[in-house]
Subunit: 358 residues, 2 copies
């Protein structure tokens, strides 16, 4: 356990110092846009995605130093999607600080004297542009593995995979999530939700692992049995992670979780937890569930009632069972891979996600 | 002249059919997002940027077929920036048809039954995501020159240049343009405006020419005299083009120009034409000029008065002189380059821009 935490801390330090070395945001005009480009990637977070790159590289005996630019690239890629998602979802906070469009909005209001509506538009416009530059930054950092001895043809292949498969799966996942908000949540199928989760969370985990493996093996081959094992691991891990997130959104501790409880109910999101409840409740009791959608505020008694409803009908138990099964599958996916310290890290990551309270 | 037009038509056909062959947008979910990704690149337009790629390649005796994916990539790159710019600038039309966020907004309203505000948010969200996928698409297409025999190391170098220099210059240009709207236009310096123009219009012209030259020469070297000559040509061409655009926005034919006359005055944009007027007008007459900023509507008599003011003070003449001088410089920049049909095309392009009415 301490070994795992130490390793994750080491990844954080490696990525942090690699990002700091890159002085390019200073060349962006105006300067505030350059600051915005640096902002999220510099905030830290758990650095799970870069860890997947580095551990997959080590798993196959690769040179960790060669993979660091790829690990940073995956982290930047993740962050540009967050910048754009936060505009789309109107999230004002990211990792406990103002989100990019909010920081930029406040800059326009206080430094440039913009009126509130103007400042809001400025914040969103600049945040769109900041994410656009970050996407470019991520691609360039991935390409730069060639500067550390990776064959340029392989680096090019990785860039192409990032800008086709990863880009499209990830963005399709976000788009489905946006579209779901306009639909009656009960009409969305579980398959659609799992597809959305795999795009939004699984695709980048898979890409991270494949990048690390490719640097180690000198070849990127998604059909190779090792790559396929990593794909299965990523898909199961991502699904378990997202279902756990759904559960924490209702049953977690608001202070630890970092956003208001039941916000998925407020946004009428078709989470797996909600869909399980629809499936478990007798038709006559559906209205009890749907009465909790889109409330302006969730009181303690609302939250208690939602928890009781989800528990009593068996939905909460069903989701917990799914999480356990998905976690088991994720760990089993690792069996064909080399049995070493790094496979152990990947297995521990699954367990850590299960016990997480955030 | 006919030869020039025929060549431009040929470029349009080559790019059009190359883009059509690429079936990937069909894999994007939901389908409407895939349609949005295809939309602008498929609309055509003058295809000047891809022409610069192909002509620069031919100029140095390169294999045009090898450069076609790069030409398409530059066209897609230009288009993703337009998709995001149209959200930022709230432009409802692009090449005479609804802009991407408007098409998507209407889809949400009519097909998904969204209320007006919801539909607006959906349209903008999906348009952000469509541009994000297009950026990925452009990078992948550029990388694919390696499939046509370009050295993968060179393809990687071009991708890196696209995602650092071009990406940052272009987006910084757009960001400065957004920031200018919050400033008193008279406080913006001519150097700032020329810097904005060079980022927004010049950077992609330069990159297009460099891409074509690199495919032909097998090396990308911005310090090489040929590359530097192309850079000078691009910077002058872009500035002449933008100044001509400023002029047409006041003195052009609204039906041909495609948007309301004096819209730069309405948005209080610090165009070079406006800044020349500030410079030429005696201090006592500045208020006459500024009285025409941010009007809700520009009547025929307003337009006539603005034209008279800009002409009488000498600003219009000064801008016309600048356009002529920049065009001359653009053509002179071509002199050190091989004297062949393709250099002729580049020279004719300068002249055609001068006589354009749109």
């Amino acid at each position: 356990m301490n070994e795992f935490k130490d390793e994750l801390r080491r990844v954080g330090e490696e990525i942090g110092s690699f990002l700091k070395e890159d002085a390019f945001p200073q060349t962006i005009r105006p300067g505030i846009l350059g600051d915005a480009v640096r902002d999220y990637p510099g905030r830290g977070g758990k650095r799970i995605r870069p860890a997947l790159v580095l551990w997959a590289c080590e798993l196959f005996g690769g040179d960790r130093e060669q993979a660091i630019p790829a690990a940073a690239a995956v982290e930047i890629y993740h962050n540009w999607t967050l910048v754009h998602d936060d505009i789309i979802d109107r999230d004002e906070l990211r990792r406990g600080k103002p989100s990019t469009h909010v920081t930029l909005r406040d800059h326009a209001a206080t430094r440039l004297g913009a009126a509130p509506e103007q400042a809001q538009a400025f914040g969103e416009s600049f945040a769109i542009l900041a994410g656009d530059i970050q996407q470019g930054w991520a691609v360039e950092r991935l390409a730069s593995v060639a500067d550390r001895g990776v064959d340029p043809a392989l680096a090019l292949t990785l860039v192409r995979a990032m800008q086709t498969k990863l880009n499209r799966e990830l963005i399709s996942g976000e788009a489905l999530d946006v579209e779901f908000e306009l639909l009656d949540p009960a009409t969305v199928s579980e398959a659609d939700v799992m597809g959305m989760i795999n795009g939004k969370t699984g695709a980048i985990m898979e890409f991270a692992l494949h990048c690390g493996a490719a640097v180690a093996k000198g070849v990127y081959d998604p059909k190779d049995p090792d790559f396929r094992a990593l794909s299965r691991y990523a898909a199961n891990l991502a699904a378990a992670f997202q279902l756990q997130d759904d559960m924490l959104g209702v049953f977690g501790d608001e202070k630890v979780f970092g956003k208001p409880l039941c916000s998925d109910f407020q946004e009428a999101k078709p989470t797996m937890l909600y869909l399980e409840a629809v499936r478990h409740l007798p038709a006559g009791r559906r209205s009890e569930l749907d009465a909790f959608l889109r409330l302006p505020h969730y009181s303690e008694s609302d939250i208690a009632a939602i928890r009781a409803l989800l528990t009593d009908c068996g939905a909460a138990g069903a989701v917990r069972d799914s999480i356990a099964a998905l976690s088991e599958c994720a760990k089993k996916s690792l069996q064909p891979l080399p049995d070493n310290r790094w496979r152990g890290m990947l297995a521990t990551l699954v367990e850590q996600m299960l016990v997480r309270s955030v």
